[in-house]
Subunit: 222 residues, 2 copies
DNA sequence: ACAAAAGTGTTCACGGTACACCCATGA
DNA sequence: TCATGGGTGTACCGTGAACACTTTTGT
């Protein structure tokens, strides 16, 4: 094995960060406008290159800390892309992508005078730089999967919520016709991870809804 | 962003290659004995460092081509580990792991005068170098998952096989009591991906078994 | 009183589990 | 004829889909 044959890499991380506007039923993904060439003016997923002595995941958290302020952020590795052509001299570029779903209300976009960091509606994604559309697609698929066999939804709901709130969240992410409402209700309640707070909340006309609280019993696979 | 702060990486690939001894019901994983320090004498997953101009996956295929001869090898990315301490000067090491299940009969171990490349029974894994036990565990879990919601099993069975052959394969990988035999039979047949060849085969005493052929209808998710 | 929203119940089909039983062959 | 392995059938249960229905509020 001759060392001179080995490729030199710079390693980058790219984050697919989702959030949900529970009021207006929008699914958002965080994008950053690119200021340099190549792809100047295009949008990208928030990412950065890994620094010396910096753990891979740590790097992903760092770039997010620069862009947004958010509580309880848990990144999950998505996929590693290594075939990207690079403009770096004597270096190849490899991208490790991460995924997260964050609570929009607990999130604040930092240093954004020029509107370079923006939540984009998943339905109106502008042309993305590099292969970021591919990474986004991959992350979106992961989000949809996790919604079905994990309790990730409760990470982005407020402390207390109605069953209809959860339903709306699922519709926002999975699309209109993923399940009947009443069946969705009973399936949820049978999971045993919801506590009745006893409090009722009225939303205009109609019978007041019960507020529930997530009791943390995950029963997750992943 | 100052370039001097960026970490320099060498990137490696590590493969978790499984195969099944259908005669004796053993699940094997391919290991290579390490000849250099560190971890000299320990076993490792077959891996290598990525060369200049070599795609990530291509690198994974290359090291396998050096160790074994096998038809129809499809690698699937597992996970990327980046926290490994490195002895390389001025370089960090990052490992992208891949996963595959191959047909033992179509596989031949190459250049093995010193028995450095060996199929190891999953139940008798020696101490592994680096974090390779972790990678192996990860791959084993993926194998078990894929067996349940994909038709990966037919990749390693011969052209024709009995239903009991499939059952034994599942037992070998998933363990004794994953399902009742007769229920397993009917579930399999209901999938509609098995063709009755009409041929019967006798195995000692008892009623001869029907030979089936996989008709390729995957209905896969992944 | 009526519409709107929340919540309950009922029926049906399907898929998994457990298990009993029948069939074809070798010794 | 009996053990052995292959193969079929049935009864039961839980779950999800579809949908009708009841309850509680605002106007």
């Amino acid at each position: 094995m001759k060392n001179k044959e080995l490729a030199n890499f710079k390693v980058g991380v790219d984050n697919v960060i989702f959030s949900v506007d529970l009021q207006n039923n929008h699914l958002f993904v965080l994008l950053v406008k690119r200021l340099e060439d190549p792809y100047q003016g295009y949008w990208t997923l928030p990412g950065t290159l890994v620094r010396e002595g910096e753990a891979l995941e740590k790097s992903a958290y760092r770039i997010l800390d620069e862009k947004i302020s958010v509580n309880n952020l848990y990144l999950e590795q998505l996929y590693t892309f290594g075939e990207i052509e690079s403009n770096l001299v004597n270096n190849r570029y490899l991208s490790v992508s991460y995924f997260a779903l964050v609570r929009l209300k607990d999130t604040e976009i930092l240093m954004n005078n020029h509107h370079n960091t923006v939540w984009h509606n998943i339905k109106e994604i502008p042309p993305l730089a590099f292969n970021h559309q591919q990474i986004l697609d991959y992350g979106y698929q992961r989000l949809k999967n996790k919604l079905e066999y994990s309790t990730i939804a409760f990470d982005v709901l407020p402390e207390t919520f109605t069953l209809n709130d959860i339903y709306q969240l699922y519709i926002t992410i999975l699309g209109e016709n993923f399940a009947d409402y009443s069946n969705f209700r009973s399936r949820l309640l049978k999971l045993g991870c919801l506590e009745d707070t006893g409090i009722k909340i009225s939303k205009g006309a109609g019978r007041p809804a019960t507020l529930y609280r997530f009791n943390g019993k995950t029963s997750d696979n992943m």
